[in-house]
């Protein structure tokens, strides 16, 4: 890992249990260097969302608990902090499944995103304009109640709302879900842009491995609550297994979805 970059977030061997009995994360460790984009990859139920919740301290409401290990933000333990404290330290999560405030209009949703900011109305207004620039579709729907907008519009709203806080570290949970390909591309361009221009750090959980690895610097692959592979994005992209299982590529190029076999070879890391 690049020594020049200070570690922004360090997750150390955490274990998470839901409802006192369901063990989900079984010792996950990774770190996010400042100013980089890190991707968490993995199949359904691998524990990506849980990991992000553990970082942003949102587990509590799901009756989950970090029972072992630690999460450090720039060397500071975060376990005792409220999610609000974390936001004030610049860590904002975009939750899986959108979670817009249904009764508020799109614009109100975005404005609540700036709740923790203290730099004045004008600055907030400026960010609002920026978000509208990123997602023109939101501007046209600004006065609709969020619950009545389409799935993709809500996703944009959720991302935009997080950006309104001017975060330093954004935890993105499946940002591409339900977005049209063009918009997906745009979202990632925005991520890259913020990352490069403003030095925002990103930790993203993503199923769309293809695009995630294209934009990320590092990647971790989670499976069954454990990290099974890690490395620079480019390395991962070249890994045989990743190619087959996460990118849908075979030696003969992209496989058609029509011709997938019913039985496939086992993943190597499982044996």
């Amino acid at each position: 890992m690049n020594a020049a970059n200070a570690t922004f977030l360090n997750v150390n061997n955490i274990e998470v249990i839901y409802n006192h009995v369901i063990l989900v994360l079984k010792g996950v460790s990774f770190s996010v260097p400042e100013g980089k984009i890190v991707a968490l990859l993995g199949g359904n139920g691998a524990g990506k969302t849980t990991t992000l919740r553990a970082v942003s301290n949102l587990l509590h409401g799901e009756r989950g608990e970090v029972t072992k290990g630690s999460v450090e933000l720039k060397g500071e333990q975060v376990q005792a902090m409220t999610p609000g404290d974390l936001v004030r330290r610049g860590v904002v999560q975009v939750m899986e499944g959108r979670h817009c405030f249904g009764h508020l209009t799109i614009e109100e949703n975005l404005l609540t995103g700036a709740y923790t900011r203290t730099d004045g109305k004008a600055a907030v207004q400026e960010t609002l304009e920026k978000v509208y620039n990123f997602f023109p579709r939101l501007k046209t729907r600004r006065t609709s109640q969020a619950a009545y907008t389409s799935g993709g519009e809500q996703q944009m709203c959720a991302i935009g709302r997080a950006l309104m806080a001017k975060p330093k570290l954004v935890l993105l949970d499946e940002p591409s879900m339900g977005l049209a390909p063009q918009i997906v591309e745009e979202v990632f361009t925005i991520v890259k842009e913020l990352n490069e221009k403003e030095g925002t750090t990103f930790l993203l959980a993503e199923q769309n491995t293809n695009i995630a690895l294209r934009y990320a610097d590092f990647g971790y692959i989670l499976e069954n609550g454990r990290v099974v592979m890690e490395g620079a994005a480019s390395e991962l992209r070249d890994n045989e297994d990743v190619k087959e299982f996460y990118l849908g590529l075979s030696s003969s190029g992209r496989k058609s979805f029509r011709e997938v076999k019913h039985y496939r070879r086992r993943k190597r890391w499982l044996s």
Partner: protein, 260 residues
């Protein structure tokens, strides 16, 4: 088994749908043939989900006509649509959170269950027999979708991707003639999408179910659909076989972007 695409089963003519000032759909016409896989694509907010809602009676369009098997369909409530053989899955998962996977899929059999409430309360012969009979069907679906291991888990605890699969299972349990799928593969990785495609194609093959599919993954759409409708801002901007649509400049501009 080979598929044979048949006649038009559902014909939508000049459909318009408004919510207050928002025009969700404007004068849209297209048809769906028996046994085909029909995809609907378009940018976010184009009106795709609204289209499905119109087809199964959740929304009532202000204008337009719908012909189902050649007959015009008047005001239609969702449960009536269901009883005529239209099933669907949802973009924002709409499973019954408090119930197990098995029970969720069993609700899909509801229309086919006939015993009355009294027999059910007493758990008498016919009720029990019926229950077992339908259970067998549901187990077939569970096997088919490869979700045996989570049969008894409450769906609320499942990861997103598996929930989508259960959602599909519930729709399949209805043994529908037309299956409407709203982004069934969102939030899945390639491997899981491949599984999902296989399920969809198998259903289409084996039971001859007509499939209407909304999906943002162009790879999937182009690979498995027979014909594609493209919507943009509530208007139809393209309709045809995948290759045709892919090369339609308007579609490229509005939706696909230069990359594809």
């Amino acid at each position: 088994m080979s598929r044979k695409i048949g006649d038009v089963i559902l014909d939508l003519q000049n459909i318009s749908l408004r919510f207050g000032g928002v025009k969700a759909l404007t004068d849209i016409s297209f048809d769906i043939r028996e046994h085909e896989v029909r995809a609907i694509i378009g940018p976010n907010g184009a009106g795709k989900s609204s289209m499905l809602n119109v087809i199964n009676g959740v929304y009532h369009p202000q204008e337009g006509k719908i012909f189902y098997r050649g007959e015009e369909r008047r005001k239609m409530e969702p449960h009536m649509a269901a009883s005529t053989g239209i099933a669907r899955t949802f973009q924002n998962i709409a499973l019954f959170k408090g119930m197990s996977v098995l029970d969720n899929i069993m609700t899909g059999r509801n229309l086919k269950m006939k015993t009355n409430i009294l027999l059910q309360a007493l758990w008498l012969g016919p009720a029990q027999k019926e229950e077992i009979e339908h259970r067998r069907k549901v187990e077939e679906i569970i096997d088919f979708l490869e979700i045996q291991h989570i049969r008894k888990t409450p769906v609320g605890r499942l990861p997103y991707g598996l929930q989508k699969r259960v959602d599909l299972g519930r729709a399949l349990a209805m043994e529908p003639q037309i299956l409407l799928l709203d982004e069934p593969m969102a939030g899945m990785n390639v491997e899981e999408k491949q599984d999902m495609c296989r399920f969809i194609l198998d259903v289409n093959d084996q039971f001859g179910t007509t499939i209407v599919l909304i999906e943002h993954d162009m790879g999937v759409v182009m690979d498995i659909s027979d014909r594609v409708v493209v919507l943009d801002y509530g208007k139809k901007i393209g309709d045809g076989v995948p290759d045709e649509v892919r090369s339609n400049p308007e579609v490229i501009k509005a939706y696909l972007g230069a990359g594809h």
